[in-house]
């Protein structure tokens, strides 16, 4: 008897339909065979299915069982085919019909219960597009699949429960579409979870201002300063001033996390901007993504969020240069012999670095012990092309320890993250409105045509910019970046046009790491 159970295969962020065909033959030596390019995890599903069916109190049939995963030429991976295979076998021996227009998905435990399986959101999206109404997913993954409107999600606890459902003994209640987004939005505390409040960072007014501009326009930023000057603290406080994700962005981010299997059991849509801080020993594949079956890397996991690279010049050259394409295009294509996957990587780069190996170059009190050659060698580790792609460059001056203790009392007088965030959100709203008809969201993403359209410069401003670019030898790209930063500064003020003071401030953040030598 041949049974067809529909399921999916996730390739990157795309899904295709996979028919799990289960045949129980009466003739032939009893056995269990899976064909259709299964990987090791799919092949091992034989043992899980066998044990899970026995544990559910049903005798495993002594027949020749052949499972085909069609289309047969696409490699199948993961444990998600456990449930469709088990349902195929059970429907054959218990004589129930597998409902049409439904998808099955989930990993089985040996005791017959279903485990959280990665990719539930991708499947739900596919089901909606392809017109499947019912989804049978593990209970722990149900919230993830249930975030998509227009599909009925059945949370399945174990195999026995699902067979009872199909034998019409006891029904499983479908999960109602939850307005998860709305629910989570009110949960502000979790949403803006940052390690530090901007109020805790003492002094550093210029750096804080630069952070605010970066958050408002989605600009990349690099901080250069001595050890202990607060670079890391500033970066860690950044999530607290970032605007929340909107519905579309939230879905984009959750898709990537779903594909990476990083959504915890019971988890649903990701509503806060992600802050990723990989260590500098990270491998190129870990950072950029890849592998024989390409999986998303840190740059994609930081999509619509922040990628913080502490000790930027300690990162291997190869890793840094590989980030050029995502920085420019906002996505990256990973090509391997078997497949080609495109992952979005629209992140805000926040980098921090020391000015020299000893760290005290240009320090007001301490002496730098590095030779000029050492300094040059150290600074050269960050290549020009990368620096050119960073919009805001700031020097973080060290804070005096004595001043620090005096200021401790004044901490309450400083501006909290919340107040800064409100300004940032307002600036983002202006941008959203501006780019309504374009496919971009923030000032940092503007292409040259957008700059021409939205950032009309008065004559005196253009003159100022031209003079500055001559004096500081700005590249054509930096020239454009200055205009974008000026636009963001104007947006923060709510000003419709860029003025001279906006441009003058933007020019403070010009690329200048090489000027110090």
């Amino acid at each position: 008897m041949l049974i067809k159970v529909p399921s999916v295969a996730n390739l990157g962020l795309e899904s295709i339909k996979v028919d799990v065909e289960v045949n129980l033959a009466n003739r032939g030596l009893p056995g269990f065979e899976i064909v259709g390019l299964p990987d090791k995890a799919v092949d091992e599903s034989k043992e899980r299915v066998r044990a899970a069916i026995s544990s559910s109190g049903i005798d495993f049939p002594a027949k020749k069982i052949t499972v085909n995963l069609a289309p047969a030429d696409i490699p199948k991976e993961g444990s998600l085919y456990d449930l469709p295979i088990a349902i195929g076998i059970l429907s054959s021996i218990l004589q129930f019909t597998v409902p049409d227009k439904s998808l099955f998905f989930g990993e089985l435990s040996l005791d017959g219960s279903l485990r959280h399986t990665k990719g539930a959101l991708l499947m739900a999206l596919f089901a909606k597009e392809a017109g499947f109404q019912d989804l049978y997913v593990p209970k722990d993954s149900a919230n993830e699949a249930g975030a998509i409107k227009g599909v009925k999600v059945f949370p399945v606890e174990n195999l026995f429960q699902l067979t009872s459902h199909f034998l019409k003994r006891k029904n499983i209640e479908p999960l109602a579409y939850q307005a998860i987004l709305e629910k989570e939005r009110t949960d502000v505390g979790r949403l803006y979870a940052a390690e530090f409040d901007m109020r805790e960072v003492l002094g550093q007014e210029q750096a804080k201002r630069a952070m605010e501009i970066a958050a408002a326009g989605g600009h990349n930023i690099i901080m250069v300063g001595s050890p202990g000057s607060g670079k890391t603290m500033l970066a860690r406080a950044l999530p607290g001033i970032m605007p929340p994700l909107n519905e579309k962005e939230s879905l984009e981010v959750t898709k990537i996390y779903s594909a990476a299997g990083s959504i915890p059991p019971g988890g649903s849509l990701i509503t806060c901007r992600q802050f990723r801080a990989p260590h500098h020993t990270a491998s190129p594949v870990g950072l950029i993504g890849g592998g024989t079956r390409p999986h998303p890397g840190e740059v994609s996991l930081a999509h619509r969020g922040v990628l913080f690279l502490d000790e930027f010049n300690e990162f291997p050259r190869q890793v840094m240069e590989a980030m050029r394409q995502p920085l420019e295009d906002g996505y990256l294509t990973i090509s391997r012999s078997k497949e080609r996957v495109r992952y979005p990587a629209e992140f805000m780069l926040v980098a921090s670095a020391n000015p020299c190996p000893c760290g005290y170059l240009n320090h007001p009190k301490k002496n730098c012990v590095c030779t000029p050659r050492q300094v040059r060698k150290y600074q050269k580790r960050i290549s020009g092309p990368i620096l050119d792609r960073i919009d805001l460059h700031i020097n973080v001056q060290p804070v005096d320890a004595t001043e620090f203790s005096d200021n401790q009392k004044n901490s309450e007088l400083l501006e909290p993250s919340e107040a800064i965030r409100e300004r940032v959100i307002l600036a983002r709203k202006i941008q959203e409105k501006r780019f309504e008809k374009d496919s971009i969201q923030s000032n940092a993403q503007m292409k040259n045509s957008h700059v021409k359209k939205y950032c009309k410069l008065a004559k005196e401003i253009e003159q100022l910019l031209r003079q500055a670019s001559m004096k500081f030898q700005l590249s054509a790209r930096s020239y454009m970046k200055m205009i974008k930063v000026a636009r963001t500064i104007a947006d923060l003020e709510g000003a419709p046009e860029i003025t001279v003071s906006h441009m003058a401030e933007a020019l403070q953040y010009r690329p200048k790491i090489y000027e110090s030598i």
Partner: protein, 109 residues
């Protein structure tokens, strides 16, 4: 014990027994039979009770490959030109040595 049961069973099904426990230095074939024009090699598996697994389970890929090799060697040795196949007969006995079930699987490799 099991081989005798299998022999009787196959005889009743119209198989002509040619050899039993055919042995060479390398190979051992439980039963060589003939049904019509086809030479049938039969592997007999016997188990007393199924508490420790079924006889079918003991026929893994490696054993099946070996059976096929033995069959080929036999046909070459005897210069057999006609069709041939490999079957398995699985016998399960009760603890009092009565027959619980006999299953005959045709053409298993």
């Amino acid at each position: 014990m099991g081989e005798e049961i299998a022999k009787d069973y196959l005889k009743r099904k119209g198989y002509k027994i040619i050899e039993q426990n055919y042995k060479t230095k390398y190979a051992e074939i439980d039963l060589v039979t003939k049904k019509g024009k086809e030479l049938v090699f039969v592997e007999v598996r016997t188990k007393k009770g199924e508490d420790f697994g079924t006889p079918e389970e003991t026929l893994d890929k490696r054993k099946l490959r070996k059976l096929w090799g033995n069959a080929k060697a036999y046909t070459a040795w005897k210069k057999w030109q006609g069709p041939y196949r490999v079957d398995a007969v699985c016998v399960v006995l009760r603890y009092d040595n009565m027959i619980e079930r006999i299953n005959h699987y045709e053409n298993i490799v």
